[in-house]
Symmetry: C2
Subunit: 160 residues, 2 copies
C-alpha cells in the first residue's frame, strides 16, 4: 500500500529513461528503488536545473508528504554516481542528463536570460583539457566546464 501510493504519486517516466536507469544500476551494482526512481522521474519531468530544495518542494507536492533534505541529497548522490544526473557547480543546481547513450564528461551552456541549460559533449575539448593537465604534470580525474552566456533563442532581437 505504501509502495503503491508512492508509485501512483510519482511523475510519469518514459520507458526509455527507466531502461536507462536500470542499465546503469546493473553496470554499477546499484539498486534502483521506487524512491530513487521517483526523484529521477521528477527531475526529468521538470526538464530544467533545480535546486535540491526546489526538488524537495516538487516531490512533497506530488507525494503529499514531508521529505527531509537529507533524503533528497542521498537520492541526488545516487543519481550522480550512476551518471543519470549532473550537478551544475556554478548554480548549485541539479539537472537530469539528456545524453542517455553512455556515461561521459559533459559541458554545459547556461543561458542567463531564460535559464535554459544545454548539455554538450566535445571530445576535442576533453582532449585539450587532458593536454593542459599533462603540460602541468597534473593527472586529471574529471573536469567542470560551464559556459555562461545567452542562448540563441534569447539572443534574437537583443543588441550585440
Amino acid at each position: 500500500m505504501e509502495l503503491a501510493k508512492r508509485l501512483v504519486s510519482a511523475a510519469p517516466l518514459a520507458a526509455k529513461w527507466r531502461r536507462l536507469a536500470e542499465g546503469r544500476c546493473a553496470e554499477k551494482g546499484e539498486r534502483l528503488t521506487p524512491a530513487r526512481l521517483a526523484v529521477y522521474a521528477e527531475m526529468l519531468a521538470c526538464g530544467r536545473p533545480v535546486s535540491a530544495y526546489e526538488l524537495i518542494a516538487l516531490l512533497e507536492q506530488r507525494q503529499e508528504r514531508k521529505i527531509a533534505p537529507l533524503t533528497v541529497y542521498r537520492h541526488l548522490d545516487f543519481l550522480m554516481r550512476t551518471g543519470l544526473v549532473h550537478r551544475l557547480q556554478s548554480a548549485q543546481t541539479y539537472l537530469a542528463c539528456d545524453h542517455p547513450h553512455h556515461a561521459h564528461e559533459s559541458q554545459f551552456l547556461l543561458c542567463s536570460s531564460c535559464g535554459h541549460v544545454d548539455e554538450v559533449e566535445s571530445r576535442g575539448l576533453e582532449t585539450l583539457l587532458s593536454q593542459i593537465a599533462d603540460a602541468h604534470g597534473f593527472r586529471p580525474d574529471n573536469a567542470v566546464v560551464e559556459i555562461k552566456g545567452v542562448c540563441g533563442t534569447c539572443a534574437v532581437g537583443e543588441p550585440n
Copy 2:
C-alpha cells in the same frame, strides 16, 4: 587610531600586489580601502583557496574583533569585480589570482590530495570554448573550467 590599528593588524602585502590592486581600481573606478586591502592581503598570505567563513576566522584572529559574514562577502564581491580574486565554483572557495599581468579568464587545476590549486591560462582553450558556443548558437559571456585530479607532486609514488 582605528585605522592605524587595522593597518598594523593586516597581513603583510608586497608592493607588487598593492600596485596591482591600485591599478585595477584605477581602471575600474573602484575605491581601494584599507578594509578591502586587508582582505586581499590575508588571501594572498594564505596562498590557497579559502571558504568565506575560513577567511572570516583568519581576519578575526588577525584583527582581534568580530567580523560579520556580509562584510567579508562584500569585500569578496569587490575583489572578484576587480579580478583580484577568483571563486572556485566546485569547491565554494575563493583564491587570490596569481596572474597579475592582466584581467583574464582562468582555468584551474585542483588537486584532491593536497588541496593545491594551480591557475592556468590557455588561449587555445578559450578559443575552443568560443567555437563550441558558436556551434550551438550560444553567445558566451564567461566560462568556468575546473579540472580535478592529482597534482604532479602528489602523484609521485602513488600507483597509477
